[in-house]
Amino acid sequence: MKKHHTPQLAGVALIAFFALFPFIYSAGDYDYIMHIAITGFFYAILASSWSMLAGYAGQFSFGHIGFMGVGAYTTALFCHYLYLSPEPTNICTEFLIGEQYLILVNPIGVTSSTLTQDCLRQALSIWDGSVQITPMPVWLGIILGTIMGGIFGLLIGLLVLRLRAAYLALFTLGFAEILRATISAEILITRGQAGIELPHLFDNGITLFGHAFTRTDKLPPYFAMFFLLLLCLGILAWLAKSKFGLFVRALREDQDAAAALGVNTTRYKVLVFVITTMMAAAAGAMQAHYVGIITPNNLFLLQMSLVVAMAVIGGVENFVAAAIGAIVIEFVLEMLRNSFDIGGITVDMTIWRLVIFGILLMLTLRFSRNGLILPLIEHFTRGHVAKETVAKRAAGASS
């Protein structure tokens, strides 16, 4: 049997390209292009993990954006409400842990800061700079967000065990909407539509390759998100070619038949939920720190549709195709933002680009159900199968 290495080589070339891109690219819109790339990586994590859940395992969940939000809000709340201080404030709820006090800031909602201050701000103004408080480490927030995403994934996974197809889609959609509504309504804690500000990914700057970067430089978050994407793709690749991948696909095809052949379908259904929701939560947490604010608007259904569309246009049954689809579409959507004039009529592309995107999605679904990138990959990996079958049949007939 002939082995085809084209997809692997293309993969290595893509990784090398994105690893070198920030050093090669030097146009005036550097920060803007880097921002699109980071956002593209973020969507690539969502789309590829969703493709494992929906494309491989057949669990068409519309809650993925909700789990992304769980990750983002977990780290946001963690960094917003917890601080370490060497001195007690005596007004906040606080716990002595070793040498330090863990300060739990009281929620004040969205009020003018001159009227009400939270207990920590009051303490700080009393101390007048004599005490240095420490915020929570960002990486810990991201890890907690990831774990929280997994816990929510486990609960939802258990709840949808007996639901199939359309009911599962509706249930998970309900979950995401309830989460968004709750966050919007719980203004005292989540600050509602005002959103919660988060410390930047590298709030104190970072030195990389002998160069000191500030917290607003794009290169460090670029690589942070890029490595998170590579980590997720690595895990997905490993899962896909292990028996996990085989079993979840069997689950998608026929749950009862898989069970009759010895597959613990319950376990794999829950597992695939937990793993993919953790990825969505990790991406959400990191993106929230990169952007510096999270609001309930980030959890809109529109965002979910975007993720689904990216995966579908790339190819939902292959997580690499979904990831590439996400990055390409993020770039194309941004590039299409430039409005233009035709004979005195201004075409507002910020709106029309979504129409073009929708038409592309419909055309893909109608004419290329496997997406636009997956057929390319299949061409190289499975192109020989038909020839092989015919050859074998001919050989069998003549013997």
Binding site: K243, F247, E253, V263, T389, K392, G396
Partner: protein, 253 residues
Amino acid sequence: MTNLAVKGLNKRFGGLHVLKGVSFEIDGPELIGLIGPNGAGKTTLTNILDGAIKPNSGTVYLNKQRIDQLPPYEVARAGLGRTFQVTRSFRRMTVLENLFVPALALNRGHSREEIAQKALEVLEFLTIDHLRNEYAQALSGGQQKLLELGRLLMLDPEIVILDEPFAGVHPRLMEVIYRYIERVNGAGKAIILISHQMDSIFTLCRRLLVLNYGDLIADGIPDDVKRDPAVIEAYLGADEEESNGEQGGRAQS
């Protein structure tokens, strides 16, 4: 030695009493035919033995292990495998991948190479090895039936229940299925064969169970069963019409 002990199985679907205290026992590598008119409860009995549905009362022991409350995957691992009346292949997975599923689910510590080798041998035996890398959905109906048998060969259970393996199958493929039955039975495994094709049943089976709307009305060697007045009245006498009606029913499913 394989032992399956079924005691007093009752199953109701709402008001419908589908199995009425069914009891029988299988000892060793028997080849048993399970017959009965459409709606007699044969598939329901299969589903209960395989753990897919739970009985309202009664017990099933496989080699002294109680299996009637176990989930299907544990029943499969305990040594009972089945095919489905309406084929259920993993359509968008290749033929080889279909065979890997039970082999890896059992986790008997075989390497991937060993499993792949076994799979190829099985496919050759079933005469569909040229299709190994095709998606199962590219297979014909009859070939998909063979694929299901292939998966069972990989699972290699102590007892196999074949639900209508001959339905819609060309004589040439029938030959292959016959060889499959010989191979599995010859290897010391028990087989329960559900079929409306009386010639196959009488050629292959050394013992018959007759189910008639939930009642097990006969259990014995084919010659005795053939002459049993209750069986003749319920089933065999109406053989011609039965098989005609059955054709129609099959076309729907």
